[in-house]
């Protein structure tokens, strides 16, 4: 799972796609104006994606503690 880090690009694309493709007030998302709702959805998805990246990350184990002087 060496390339799992590339998943982290998805939120960058997602966050910008809404305003670029549909710069409008309606339809409301989650009871908020479209772009605000879109941003909130991507904040939630980002946390989920980063949790997945963390779970699959090979760097996570071991490399940090033994580096201590």
């Amino acid at each position: 799972m060496k390339y799992v880090g590339w998943l982290a690009i998805i939120p960058f694309i997602g966050m910008f796609l809404g305003p670029v493709c549909h710069n409008a007030v309606t339809p409301f998302l989650l009871g908020m104006p479209f772009l605000l709702g879109w941003t909130v959805i991507w904040v939630l998805l980002t946390a989920a994606i980063m949790a997945l990246v963390y779970r699959l990350d090979p760097h996570r184990r071991g490399d940090d503690v033994e580096d201590a002087p």
Partner: protein
């Protein structure tokens, strides 16, 4: 009015007490004062980094920006989220390198990585320059809170001076441990206050959040989407990119990462912090509600939006609690910023200029510098007339110029040379200074350019020039160094 001021005074006194409490049992040497002896676990590092989310900027700045401009405020929610993704990959190697070499500041990192004292000094100066508007915005916020809580009885200049004096006192006695512990109180209080007023005000005035937005959309049809020119989608994308990359280039955030006990702290934080900052939504709700309920504030006065609607809607003791939360949001980050600017100047500028300066002298000099920095910050806060968000964006334009050289230094084979990094940062910062002082925009420089180019944040343009110069100078100097190396053989 008296009730509100008493509550605010109590919160400042409480913060000072926590600061004194936190330092007990720890000898305040350079490493202890600035990086807490590198012994902070998940929770404290989380709080120290999360503390960056809830500053005066997010509390008064975000609500004011939503009030004054509408949709452009959304950028605040977007950039933090993306910044934590960057931190997931960037901070662990930075932390590991800093720990191995016993570094305590951001310029240390650049100087050590590139083997160049001069680069360290440049990075320190860029850091200090960028921190000034950040500090000014915290003082501006403090001034507004004192002013609003006294219902106008205490004028702006006096309010700012009171705020600056409290922060200065706090820094001198507390250090980074005090800031981390006060962060707990601050974040708890600010979350409670933000969620409460963010739900109460729209429900009280419009019967709910969706009806409130519907009312805003009806009253101001284009307010909740991006404009076609100016603060357009292009402005949004470039500003979010600039600020997401720059987020951990702030010398105090960069330095805060040295406090961690291990590197996994940052990876876990990257999952939690995006959720943690969602509380900003409630601050937006307040700003949008205020835009209909208390209209008429313009320019820098939009900073007052949140407090103005609270004064209109709540009794003085509630205003006092809101003000107390606001004071803490300025006090903790303000103290970190001042401590950081003082340490940078003392350790990475003065100590380089006068070799042989001991660590004890460095700490002493840094503590003498704190009041000097406070006076500078207070002066600009009293004389300036910018919105809080504009001040922060100016700071970001500066610090993000450090990003290209930093990221390249993390590569296994760094193609960038010290002169390349130096030249790139100079060009980037020079570009920002030119655009800021001349009040220029791309739109004015190149009126014929397509709209999406005209609206780019100038910081991103500077970043591009910075990168090009860095690569070009690196290529030339690397060849010269190689030639000198082979000639010597």
């Amino acid at each position: 009015m008296i009730v509100a001021l008493i509550l605010i005074g109590l919160s400042a006194a409480g913060a000072l007490a926590i600061g004194i409490q936190a330092r007990s049992g720890h000898e305040m040497g350079l490493e202890q004062w600035t990086v807490g002896g590198r012994g902070f676990g998940q929770a404290l590092v989380f709080l120290l980094l999360a503390g960056e989310i809830y500053t005066t900027f997010s509390f008064l700045g975000a609500s004011g920006y939503a009030y004054g401009l509408g949709a452009p405020a959304y950028y605040i929610l977007a950039y933090g989220t993306l910044a934590y993704i960057v931190s997931y990959f960037m901070l662990p190697p930075v932390w590991r390198y800093a720990r191995r070499h016993g570094l305590v500041s951001q310029p240390d990192f650049f100087a050590h990585k590139y083997g160049s004292q001069a680069l360290g000094v440049l990075v320190a100066l860029v850091g200090v320059v960028a921190l000034v508007p950040y500090l000014v915005l915290q003082f501006t916020g403090l001034g507004i809170i004192v002013q609003a809580a006294s219902y106008g009885a205490i004028p702006k200049a006096v309010s700012v001076i009171i705020g600056a004096a409290v922060v200065t006192l706090y820094v001198v006695i507390s250090g980074v441990r005090g800031s981390a512990w006060t962060s707990i109180v601050k974040d708890a209080l600010i979350i409670l206050v933000a969620v409460f007023i963010g739900l109460y005000l729209p429900i009280h005035f419009y019967g709910g959040i969706t009806p409130m937005f519907a009312a805003v959309a009806a009253a101001k049809p284009n307010f909740l989407a991006f404009a076609a020119t100016g603060k357009s989608v292009s402005w949004f994308v470039s500003t979010v990119m600039l600020t997401a990359l720059g987020f951990f280039m702030w010398p105090h955030s960069f330095g805060a990462c040295y406090t961690a006990r291990d590197a996994n702290v940052f990876r876990k934080n990257a999952i939690l912090l995006p959720l943690y900052q969602l509380v900003l939504l409630f601050v937006f709700f307040v700003g949008f509600t205020a835009s209909l309920v208390v209209p008429g504030l313009k320019g820098a006065a939009t900073n007052m939006a949140l407090l103005k609607i609270c004064v209109a809607a709540f009794p003085p003791w509630v205003v006092g609690i809101i003000g107390a939360a606001g004071v803490l949001t300025a006090l903790v980050p303000g103290s970190l910023i001042m401590m950081c600017a003082a340490t940078l100047f003392s350790r990475n500028f003065l100590a380089v200029m006068r070799p042989g300066q001991s660590d004890a002298e460095t700490v002493r000099l840094a503590k003498y510098l704190v009041p000097v920095i406070a006076v500078i910050g207070a002066y600009f806060a009293i004389s300036g007339s910018s919105t809080i968000v504009a001040l922060l964006l100016m700071g970001y334009s500066f610090v993000t110029q450090l990003f290209p050289a930093l990221v390249c230094s993390l590569l296994r084979r760094n193609p960038v040379t010290a002169p390349g990094a130096f030249a790139g940062i100079c060009v980037g910062v020079g570009t920002v200074i030119y655009f800021t002082l001349e009040n220029q925009t791309i739109g004015k420089l190149a009126p014929g350019a397509p709209e999406f180019v005209r609206d780019l944040n100038i910081g991103t343009v500077a970043l591009l020039l910075n990168f090009v110069v860095m690569v070009a100078v690196s290529a030339v100097t690397a060849r010269a160094l190689a030639a000198a190396g082979s000639a010597a053989e």
